[in-house]
Subunit: 191 residues, 2 copies
């Protein structure tokens, strides 16, 4: 998505060769018209695929998932990273190692929110090592639902998570795919 | 908002006199058309108030805030509950006690995301004891921004947080306001 690449070149901050900061429009301040445009692009990519549910993970995937759900007219289910007093009953769960937070957490979705009849599109803001995505894929497998594909805003291709999952046959669509980046030279995208 | 009261009567689960479960449409599975309708209602309530930014807190406030931001055409900023590797620099922060999770966390917004020029509408899914809202109000005060008001999906009026803040002069608009509830007798709203 050309508009996202241009926005990243203009507004993202490359903190290091690994860490890209997009808090000013994508994951703390939310540029809503732009996020709605990303949602429409995801809906276009998955038109006719019979998606019945969008699955994401709290917190920064929720806005993009909501944006795609508006034109796709399907519900969003987000995995939680901890269990609240309101969460009772059986849960699908998967352990996820977070590289940006330096911890490990459990991603949780109640079993009554996903079923074998569902055709699921996973949406997230970042794909790097693929840890969060692998956790969500495990949850989809536990539920018996069909995975249609994964739509990602920004893939840091050089961290390998996307290609490892593609090699397993998972459909992954990244709106922007970064080949390399550094504070000195900026961001380079795949052609 | 009559439609929300009706939806709560039909779909919410009263787990106890204190705990209401709305995970099936509002805070884990997201009923997107309904949430967009709540967003339009919030936009209507704050029309002409010159709101420049919506502030919420991760995770379950994000979808409703996004829904209101579409018609209001303003950015959303959400407070995070922990500091990631991408969060550097000065932060506004406030300590919040979570009654549903039984812990205390720090709500954080980078200082460059809110300024004294902003006119802020706070949006959240629940208002009970008012702990999260008080934390956000503290952050707004730290930033020097003007608080226009707080739009809440569901206020559990009997837990007192809303009335305490109203007594301090804070404008609070709750789309549904619960007077009392129990698993046996269901939900009773303020007239």
């Amino acid at each position: 998505m050309k508009a996202l690449e241009e926005k990243l070149q203009k507004e993202a901050i490359v903190l290091s060769a690994d860490i890209l900061k997009v808090g000013n429009f994508l994951n703390q301040t939310l540029d809503i018209p732009f996020i709605m445009e990303m949602g429409r692009e995801i809906a276009r990519l998955y038109e006719g695929e019979g998606v019945t549910k969008i699955v994401t993970i709290e917190a920064s995937g929720i806005a993009i998932a909501t944006a795609a759900a508006v034109p796709m007219q399907v519900p969003v289910v987000f995995a939680k990273k901890s269990r609240a007093a309101t969460q009772v009953g059986s849960m699908y769960h998967a352990e996820v190692k977070s590289f940006t937070h330096g911890n490990t957490y459990e991603a949780i979705i109640p079993v009554d929110m996903l079923s074998a009849d569902d055709r699921v599109l996973i949406i997230d803001d970042f794909l790097a090592h693929g840890a969060a995505l692998s956790g969500l894929l495990s949850i989809i497998r536990q539920s018996g639902a069909t995975l249609v594909g994964c739509a990602i805003a920004i893939e840091k291709g050089f961290q390998g998570g996307g290609d490892a999952l593609r090699a397993e046959g998972v459909r992954i669509d990244s709106l922007a795919r970064i080949r390399a980046m550094s504070p000195e030279t900026g961001i380079e995208f795949y052609a």
